[in-house]
């Protein structure tokens, strides 16, 4: 597990400035990429790809989120543990959604055949 141990051990760190200054160029480039990707999501729904549409939209959102996290939120330059916290929390959300969806994907239309059958509207 990563952390900077109590800094008394490592005096040299103290002379460094706190935090990393992200170059302006990078910030603007990220912003530009985010705008492009947003337009891409809007464009992507117009193409009919069946259930793939949802996954494409989610994939684009993940790329955007990654960009925001890495550069705007400094994760790329930070303690790795911060990234672990964010990614970890996302994993637990995925776990929650995934296991809760089991009921949906395995819905049984008839528990006892012929008894109170579902009606097709």
């Amino acid at each position: 597990m990563s952390d900077i141990r109590s800094t008394t051990e490592n005096g040299s760190r103290e002379t460094e400035s706190l935090g990393h200054v992200v170059p302006l160029r990078v910030l603007l480039a990220v912003w530009f990429a985010l705008v492009l990707l947003s337009l891409a999501t809007v464009g992507a729904v117009r193409v009919d790809l069946g259930s793939l549409n949802l996954w494409i939209a989610l994939a684009i959102a993940f790329v955007k989120a990654t960009l925001v996290g890495l550069y705007f939120m400094h994760l790329r330059y930070d303690q790795p543990f911060h990234a672990i916290a964010l990614v970890g929390s996302l994993l637990f959300v995925v776990l929650f959604v995934g296991l809760a969806l089991l009921d949906t994907t395995h819905y049984q239309h008839e528990m006892i055949p012929g008894y109170a059958p579902a009606v097709r509207p």
Binding site: M1, D3, I4, R5, S6, T8, E9, F81, G88, S89, F92, L95, F96, L99, A100, L102, D103, T105, H106, Y107, Q108
Partner: protein
Amino acid sequence: MNGSTAVADNYLSHGRGFRSWFFTLDHKRIGVMYLASIFFFLILGGFFAMLIRTELLTPGRTIMDADTYNQVFTLHGAVMIFLFIIPGIPAAFGNFVLPVMLGAKDVAFPRLNLLSYHLYVVGAIFSVVSILLGAVDTGWTFYTPYSTTTHTSVVSMTLGAFILGFSSIFTGINFIVTIHRMRPPGMSWNRLPLFLWALYSTAIIQILATPVLGITLLLLIVERLLGIGIFDPALGGDPVLYQHFFWFYSHPAVYIMILPAMGVMSELISVFSRKHIFGYKAIAYSSVAIAVLSFLVWGHHMFTSGQSDLGNMIFSALTFSVAIPSAIKVFNWLATMYKGSIRLDTPMLYALSFLLLFGIGGLTGLFLGALATDVHLHDTYFVVAHFHYTMMGGVLIAFLGAMHYWWPKMFGRMYSEKAGRLAAFLVFVGFNLTFFSQFVMGSQGMPRRYYNYVDRFQSYHVLSTIGAYVLAIAFVVLAGNLIHSLFRGRKAPANPWGSATLEWMCASPPPHDNFAEPPEAGDPYDLEHLVYDESIGGYAPRTAREGA
């Protein structure tokens, strides 16, 4: 510092008056305030328990009507869970000892810590107000659709629980950051006391699970106030989804309760067996393993709720896996005791009770985790007995053990060993009387949360009620003993039990700032170098004594 006398300025005497306590940033005072509040709610919850047991003494009406009974058992559960057992060990003892164990002056965010306590108070007020406004009768689980239709004050109670959730989250954040960033020189992760490993794992759960409780209760509140319809079948909503939400928090929450208790156990077993803990790493990592696995099993509360078959099977299989890290801990404790010179002081009596009772509680959990048996046992007294063996036989007993273990450190006084042991014995006997009978009647089909029952269960209910009264007496003895010690107790030495963790290196009670300089941390379970010193009535490092 040989600690034979309390330092003149300790945290208790540092500042006087209500404000110096209620607005303190000192983690020790916050811990003490938590302890007092939590103990108060333990007594309140216990009072409701006495009402329940008295009502169940006879079939039909004994002292209250059926609706009141529903309210009383709900209040018992909600108070015990949200106000006693979840904050319990971490907020009271964790706050007090965590920074001292780290040789630090305070937790990383003292203000957040105080805020956490204040939120606890506010949450508690909402919960108590709900009792006055028409106490909730849904059971502590607030299952929809009943909780969205009952006319009792669900909103106030759930708002209280929501606020208490924040309090719990803030404690968790504080503990994680403090453990990460404020360890003293020489304390690598592998020298972290096991109690802190346990608190760390607990904090992970607090961070990841509690927000989901927050959103659950928020949706419930919005459901009642605005009719948002997400959990309401009348509006197309899905009540089973509510159960997913609720148990995604509440199963991990049972590990928020038990992990700190296991941490206490690791300390007690080693110290009172006068032996280095066996399998340090296995115990430490199994805490983290439990924290992670606890998120994978919530569906075992929903085997009979219409969850899909595949879900049932997956959750059942995963449920069994949680038993592995739990058993790892138990076996390591047993191995620690093996060939140790065991001292049966009060804290150790609680530790031994824990071993036995948690063993029973955990194993019966496996019965319930098996699909076929659960269909038979679900919603019977068997479940009630299971979770009382884990929560009361496990967590509460460890809480009492912790209280007797750290009491001298917290207040600088020794209690009467004799009365302490008597209380521990009575707790053990009373507990088993109360709950073992519930296993028996549950397996014979006595349903839980029922006001009435058929005559053939009466003998079990009577036994159970007698047990509850014994427990009440035990608590009177216990509380009397501790309170008496505050006024009449012998002054406590710095290290009465001979423990090697850092909190025992500063005076009892600790000075305001804990340590002037961060102490050098060694192996927290190296007890060999501590020897008993008659003149101070406690333990001191071997070298110090030889030097004297």
